[in-house]
Symmetry: none
Subunit: 221 residues, 2 copies
């Protein structure tokens, strides 16, 4: 397992490296965006850990460039603490998961393992759960092979559910994910999106457990 860690803070970079190394990964690090892009484009990694606040070339730009070039390795994005903005942009640029800083190293290892495992099971960044297939690179969703066109919000919702596919996700968590923690939203904004999303996906994809939350029917197949 080979990992590229892109992080400009030397101390954090070192921590990441030793932690992941202890977890059995082979880790290379770089602090520079250009450098990162070059490495990611020419070498084969099982995972890239990418800090978004980089000098010389923005992490987001690097990620987009990789994806545009057809590179499909899983990317775990490190975002600034409260920055909801960064998370959204990260996911939309093709990140597979994000971790807000500061984080616990233990948590990083868990995520890294999960991503690598997921990628190993599939050829690309294609997630499947029952009749549902999500291509996190192209940001397209299809049900039973039929492509479905979703809005950004709808996509984020279904992608989040798919990422946590094997459990029931409470509405409060979804609200936080979709809108950030300052919930000035009227409660049933989420339900409105749900209705529209379900209409597009058809029945039997997203289920409700009253009093618990939402889940993907069929789970992770």
């Amino acid at each position: 397992m080979r990992i590229l860690a892109v992080e400009d803070d030397a101390r954090i970079a070192r921590d990441i490296k030793t932690t992941l190394a202890d977890a059995g990964f082979r880790v290379e690090t770089t602090a520079d965006g250009e450098d990162a892009w070059f490495l990611g484009d020419t070498e084969e990694y099982d995972l890239v850990v990418l800090d978004l606040g980089l000098p010389s070339m923005d992490g987001l730009a690097v990620l987009k460039k990789w994806r545009a070039a057809g590179r499909e390795m899983p990317v775990l994005v490190l975002t600034a603490r409260g920055s909801w903005q960064e998370r959204v942009e990260g996911i939309e640029a093709g990140a597979d998961d994000y971790l807000p800083k500061p984080f616990r190293m233990e948590e990083l290892v868990a995520r890294a393992r999960a991503l690598v495992r997921r990628a190993a099971g599939r050829g690309s960044a294609l997630q499947q759960a029952g009749p549902l297939a999500i291509d996190t690179n192209r940001m397209t969703v299809s049900v039973n092979g039929v492509p479905v066109s979703l809005t950004a919000l709808e996509y984020r919702l279904i992608a989040y559910l798919a990422l946590h596919g094997d459990r029931v996700v409470p509405p409060s968590e979804l609200l936080e994910h979709l809108y950030g923690d300052d919930d000035a939203r009227e409660a049933n904004a989420l339900e409105a999106v749900m209705t529209r999303l379900r209409r597009k996906l058809g029945t039997g994809v997203i289920g409700t457990r009253r009093g618990f939350g939402y889940f993907l029917e069929g789970g992770t197949a």
Copy 2:
């Protein structure tokens, strides 16, 4: 599952409460250190979430006092973001785990579940007791491998019994955990839930000791 959350920031306290409540816990909050100490000393909690930055009495002092008094419930400490110092002191004072602020609510739930499970002497997300299996991720229950669909209240009830499976749990305790002490329900609300739950689980799962309370037949396998 009953949780005490000690947090002085009202907004965070509310977030914690709703999040944990959504996850199926019964949450009480207090912002005051003295108050927290008293509650933790006199009530029975399955977990305490403790912010260290408190007015009136330091969170650390509260924790030490509990431990000195022989109180052994698991305590999850919330520390300020980078404060390494606090973590060490927290652990030394008897905390079971710590979570640096700011944290993701999702993460809090995961930790809370882990601690509660560990305290019960079990390791995985799957609890088993006799013919009963409880998946705390999916919030599903199955008997002899056959999945059973439960409501939120029924789930909380059986989960609590499973956690304290090897002893007889008095109805007053169940009432308290399900509804909180302030709520004066008609006594037989619990029995009504019991009936419905038993009908779904089948006989031979939940037993009654007249005058004492309820218990899981077969205990912890």
